[in-house]
Structures are given as structure tokens and as C-alpha cells.
């Protein structure tokens, strides 16, 4: 007794805090009717070397997505020695540099959805506490709601199964950050058209235009009524050097939204460059007096195409 007393005394504040936390139950926000369990088979496992969980996690996701990548090959792009770890933005950037498009995980339902669709998810966890954070990247490869567990390729452990509640807490401390790393042309199971375009546009920074175009095509297929998707596709195709398809995409944008002036402006340029100057001018003339933020651009384009020397190559 005399020994336990002081120990309890010291642990008291912690126990009180834990007790306060324990009495307020919350739920892992998962919708009814979702699959109860799934396990992705065949996700390659790379054991983490030193504190290189970032390169390891990304390498597993890339390798599974079809581009075999060893952690060593991307370590320089992902890992930051001075911080002894990997930043989230470097994980995302390195995926793009390897011609893959990272898409953000929206919520718990989406997280499990991607696993059910056989797509491993790179997650950021804080394994420690907010005053003593232990940041960690792992790859979610399975879950079992009936057993209240999830399975991760994590650190040095292949297919580590932990309690769902523990994962929920550590993932929440990592702000529920998760990314699916997809090859060009694939889209996540759940996403808004805006978020999809944003993710592909970010990928575009690496100037892989054909790959970006393939992803935009997927967006236009899932959201056939999106003029911005056709517009973004038109720009990517143009940069990829495919003027004809580019013009077709701008035309599609205008069919969906006839007053979408940026598409009109760009279509006129592409047509003029392909020798269809008369048609380009005709298009622009119809809209030259339409008020709005793009009026100046339209007038400038009109001027430029009308001038004989500047428009022709």
C-alpha cells in the first residue's frame, strides 16, 4: 500500500484526464450498409529503413499502382534529412513526379470505399500525443468492421492489424490525411468534380500533359455536363501538341455552356493556328460585345487573329 499510494498520486492527473476522455463516446463516422470488411491482396511491402516511412509508404502505393518503385529510388525526393522525416507535400509531389495523380481522401466512408475498390491508401498518423507527436506514414490495406480492426503495411511490419479505435485516434491526430495514388486516367471512388479537377491541375505542374489529358478525359466521362472539365482537357491536349483534339474539347465545353468565354477564346486560337482563321474570327465576332471578365481577352484575341502576320506561323 505504501508504495502504490505515491505512484497513484503521481499518475492521478493523467488518470483523471483519461477518465474525462473515456466518458464521452464518439463514433467512427461510417455509413450503414457499407461492406463490413475487405483486404487488398498483393500490395508489395517495403520495410521502413531508419525514419524513412514516407518513401516506403509511397513506394508501396506506386508499386501497387503499376510503377514498380523501391523506397531508395524516391528517398531523395521525399525524405528531408534535417527534419528526420518526410513532409506530406513531398510525398504528394514525388508521386506526381512519378507520373501518378494523388487524390485526397474525403472522409471515413471514402477511405473504406477505396480499400474496397482495391486501392491502398497512404495515411498520415500521429502515433503519439499532440504534445509529443510521432508522425508516421503507413499504407492502409484492409479493414474488418466486425472485428473492429484495420490492417496496415506500417514501419517494419507487413500487414499489421490494429484496433479500429486506435487507428481512428492516430489518424484523427494526423488530421485524417490520406491520399490514393492513381495512374493517369483513374479517378477515386468518391470525389467532387471540382476536387478532381483541382487534383489533376496540381499534377499538371509537372508538365506531363498527355498523362494529365488522360485524367481529364476520365473526368469528362464521369461528369459529361462539366464545361470546365472539357476546357481543362482542351488546354492539356493543346500543350500535349494535339491541336485537333484540343479544339474538339473546347467545342464540347461550348456545347455544354455556350457562354463559357475562355473556351471560346482558346478555341479561336487553336483554329487560327490550324489555318481556320475565318471560322475563328466568326466565332469571336459573335461574342465580341458580351460583357464580363473575359471581354478584354476576347478583344485581344480578335485583334491578334485579324492581323495578318501575328496569327500565322
Amino acid at each position: 500500500m505504501s508504495r502504490i499510494g505515491p505512484a497513484l498520486h503521481r499518475l492521478g492527473p493523467i488518470l483523471v484526464l483519461l477518465a474525462i476522455g473515456c466518458v464521452i463516446p464518439t463514433h467512427v463516422p461510417i455509413s450503414e450498409g457499407a461492406p463490413r470488411q475487405h483486404r487488398i491482396l498483393g500490395v508489395p511491402f517495403f520495410s521502413q529503413v531508419r525514419s524513412q516511412c514516407g518513401p516506403a509508404a509511397l513506394a508501396m502505393a506506386l508499386s501497387y499502382a503499376g510503377t514498380w518503385t523501391e523506397p531508395d529510388a524516391i528517398s531523395e525526393q521525399v525524405f528531408t534529412e534535417a527534419r528526420g522525416g518526410s513532409f506530406q507535400f513531398d510525398v504528394v509531389g514525388a508521386a506526381r513526379r512519378r507520373a501518378h495523380v494523388p487524390f485526397p481522401i474525403q472522409d471515413w466512408d471514402h477511405l473504406l470505399d477505396e480499400v474496397v475498390a482495391d486501392r491502398p491508401v497512404v495515411v498520415l498518423q500521429n502515433l503519439g500525443l499532440f504534445w509529443y507527436p510521432v508522425w508516421h506514414f503507413a499504407v492502409l490495406i484492409g479493414f474488418d468492421l466486425d472485428a473492429s480492426s484495420v490492417t496496415l503495411h506500417s514501419g517494419r511490419e507487413r500487414a499489421r492489424t490494429i484496433a479500429l479505435a486506435t487507428f481512428a485516434r492516430t489518424w484523427r491526430r494526423g488530421s485524417n490525411w490520406g491520399r490514393v495514388i492513381l495512374p493517369p486516367g483513374e479517378l477515386p471512388t468518391r470525389i467532387s468534380v471540382e476536387a478532381a479537377l483541382d487534383a489533376i491541375q496540381s499534377f499538371e505542374r509537372t508538365e506531363q500533359w498527355e498523362a494529365a489529358a488522360r485524367s481529364y478525359i476520365a473526368v469528362t466521362e464521369r461528369w459529361p455536363g462539366s464545361a470546365p472539365a472539357q476546357f481543362a482537357l482542351g488546354n492539356a491536349l493543346y500543350r500535349a501538341g494535339d491541336s485537333r483534339s484540343s479544339a474538339a474539347a473546347f467545342e464540347a465545353a461550348l456545347r455544354i455552356e455556350p457562354s463559357f468565354m475562355p473556351a471560346l477564346n482558346n478555341l479561336a486560337h487553336v483554329l487560327a493556328e490550324s489555318g481556320e482563321k475565318a471560322r475563328a474570327l466568326e466565332l469571336l465576332e459573335v461574342h465580341r460585345d458580351r460583357p464580363g471578365p473575359w471581354r478584354d481577352s476576347i478583344l485581344r484575341t480578335l485583334e491578334q487573329i485579324a492581323e495578318p502576320d501575328t496569327a500565322d506561323p
Binding site: 473515456c22 528531408t80 479500429l164 496540381s202
Partner: protein
């Protein structure tokens, strides 16, 4: 078709056109030495340096309206672009300070969207850097280790992979977790 070099050239000219009035102001500000003027001078300097080294920004072609000029609100796009130029340089410098090779730092920054660059700029020292468990525990006070072992056992944390939480996974039914304690 334009020659392949022209869009790049044009993009640079665009930035220089924008920075030129800033360069001009720099001379007039030279007379006054208020802190604000100094800050503005420095900003101008960075902007000019950025324009000189970064090359093309998001100008798809001289005349084509770029995707990112349309998808966010067009009114703010131009300003955001200018801001992003500044912050790209900042983030690159921050990465170099962390020992990343200049060319690699540039490549890392180049693979990020404007929004991402703006988000991380100036925050590299506080941003999470995933490392895992092994090094994290080295050189820690014994008290902290004790607390982490304790919270690991309760399933609140997962620092030590060899520690399994005491409570077994809940029986079939609704997955329920307790809210986080204020630790």
C-alpha cells in the same frame, strides 16, 4: 505554330512587366528609410529574382487562357499567381536551409500547386514530418516513455509496435471509440 521557346519567353516578359513598376518604386523609395519601405524593397528584390530564375509560370501559351486562370475565381487568379511566385522562392530557400540540394529543392517546389505552396510557405519548421517510431523514442525522458507506454496500452497511441492495447477489439456491432482525452 509558334516556336517552342516563345511561350516561356512570353511568360518571363509578363512577370518582368509586372515587376517593372516595382523596380521603379524601389528607386523612389530609396530616399525614405522607413521599415515598411525596406520590406517593400526586399519583396521587390525577391520578386525580380523569382522572375529571373523561375521561368514560365502558369501561362499556358501567350494567348490561351490557362486552366487555373478559370477554375478559381478569375479576379483573384492574377494576384494569387504573383503571390505564388514569391512563395515558391521562399519554400525553395527553406528546403535548401534544410540541406536539400538546390536543384532538388526546385524540383520539389515545381511539383506543387500554387495553393500547396502557399499553404506550406514559412511553416516548414512546424509541419509534420512522418518518421515513424524508431528514432522518435530515442533520447526521450523516461517519464514521457512511461506515459506513452501507458497510453499505448489503452489504445490511445501506437508508438511502440510491440505493445498491444489491453482491451480486446469490440464485439461485432457498431464500431465505437472513446473520444480523445485532453493529453
Amino acid at each position: 505554330m509558334d516556336s517552342p521557346a516563345s511561350p516561356d519567353l512570353h511568360a518571363k516578359q509578363l512577370v518582368f512587366a509586372r515587376t517593372s513598376d516595382c523596380v521603379y518604386r524601389r528607386e523612389t523609395l530609396h530616399m525614405t528609410t522607413s521599415p515598411l519601405a525596406l520590406v517593400r524593397q526586399m519583396l521587390c528584390g525577391i520578386l525580380v529574382a523569382a522572375a529571373a530564375t523561375l521561368g514560365p509560370i502558369q501561362v499556358a501559351r501567350a494567348e490561351l487562357i490557362a486552366t487555373d486562370a478559370v477554375l478559381p475565381s478569375p479576379a483573384t487568379a492574377a494576384r494569387a499567381e504573383l503571390q505564388a511566385v514569391l512563395e515558391r522562392t521562399d519554400v525553395r530557400a527553406e528546403l535548401q536551409q534544410l540541406g536539400i540540394e538546390p536543384s532538388e529543392a526546385s524540383a520539389r517546389v515545381a511539383s506543387l500547386s500554387d495553393a500547396e505552396v502557399i499553404e506550406v510557405q514559412g511553416r516548414l519548421s512546424e509541419l509534420p514530418a512522418g518518421e515513424g517510431f524508431v528514432e522518435a523514442v530515442a533520447g526521450v525522458l523516461i517519464v514521457t516513455v512511461a506515459v506513452l507506454v501507458f497510453t499505448d496500452l489503452l489504445g490511445y497511441t501506437d508508438v511502440f509496435p510491440f505493445i498491444r492495447p489491453l482491451d480486446r477489439p469490440r464485439a461485432a456491432g457498431e464500431p465505437e471509440i472513446d473520444s480523445e482525452p485532453g493529453l
